[in-house]
Assembly symmetry: C2
Homo-oligomer: 226 residues x 2
């Protein structure tokens, strides 16, 4: 457990992992916890609304940082380009590589580190986990180790990268969330971004498997066909 | 000398160092060279216009990426906050620390790497040099080494960070630029951002010293009092 005087920033997508992480930071007793979310023009913008609702419920200061103007320079991803279909099927399939936004985590982490330096925080917490390692190179342990190294030398104020779920799968995260009393009805996972989750995309499939593994009923609504 | 099939991106501020670097990349015979500049709400926005003019003169594709909306989250710097005075005096003085924008180079490099992956480039070139090491932690060799490491693992396409001037001072860069026939009349250095350089801020002082060291007359206009 860290000292109570430390200040932490969490990058909050509004999904299950980063939402659980926010509850974990509050539980760990940081002096202050703030959340930042990124609007990168994602189809599933409803997750930003869920992030806002979670922060409101927890009394956590929340900022949405708009980086959508960057996306035309970096993205051919299905997550932001309406001309590319979101792939269905298993989350770890190769087709899910079309959901990779080049260097997204490094860009978001860089901005989070700058924000942390600016408000004199100590820690940037990221909800990366083992389930993402196969698809997203910028969620792997070697990336996180290197990110932590660079964030200690890039500024006068060293910032610690904190990723307690790095070796967890999503089922493990939900089990942690159960202890932390996470309200999963305020989380969004589906890549298609409709109010009701599709239940079919790789992201939905992974969520449903994780709840099943944890032995908990997923409280969000799915489209009827499921 | 690198293979002619490789594609390079240069982060072009419109100042002397990155402009010289652009000429160097063209000389080194890359298959394609593109330039990107960042609008981060800098006072000295004239440098973006100079970057555009240089690229036009050289027939290089140039993009300006607007990250000014990020700045309110990360910056208390004199370079972007009109309430803070730009310090005068020697460039390596502690007072120049007020010109540090937290994590600026990491943010810009992250975006440049994402852009490079997206257009299938191989190299991101940065004009960092030894004169900046004292003031800006994110210009030091250990930062660049770590940046190069992370940019090789963050994406499916590894990107090489190229900083040929890392150990040069500004005088050495101008001597290289002399061989490369750089048009320094299309470069801007003064932090105050007026059409005529002030000749007094740390940045102007360093530029003038560098031209003197290189034994070349600086072709830009300075305010009369100099």
């Amino acid at each position: 457990m860290l000292e109570h005087t430390k200040k932490a920033i969490v990058v909050l997508s509004g999904g299950m992992d980063s939402t659980t992480l926010l509850y974990r930071l509050l539980y760990e007793g940081y002096g202050e916890v703030r959340a930042i979310s990124f609007d990168y023009g994602q189809r599933h913008k409803i997750e930003l609304e869920r992030a806002r609702q979670t922060c409101e419920a927890l009394g956590v200061k929340h900022e949405v940082i708009d980086i959508s103007t960057l996306m035309k320079f970096i993205s051919n991803s299905a997550l932001t380009n309406p001309d590319i279909d979101v792939p269905e099927g298993h989350y770890e399939d190769n087709s899910m590589q079309s959901t990779v936004v080049p260097n997204r985590n490094m860009i978001m982490a860089s901005i989070a580190i700058g924000y942390a330096v600016n408000i004199e925080a100590d820690v940037v917490a990221l909800g990366v986990h083992a389930g993402d390692h196969a698809i997203y190179p910028d969620c792997r342990p070697e990336f996180i180790a290197c990110l932590n190294a660079i964030s200690h030398i890039a500024n006068y104020r060293p910032i610690q990268i904190y990723t307690p779920y790095l070796d967890y799968d999503k089922g493990d995260i939900i089990l942690d969330g159960k202890k932390l009393l996470v309200d999963y009805s305020l989380t969004h996972t589906c890549y298609k971004g409709n109010k009701k989750a599709c239940g079919k995309c790789g992201s939905c499939e992974e969520r449903l498997e994780a709840f099943e593994k944890a032995g908990i009923k997923d409280p969000i609504a799915y489209e009827e066909s499921n």
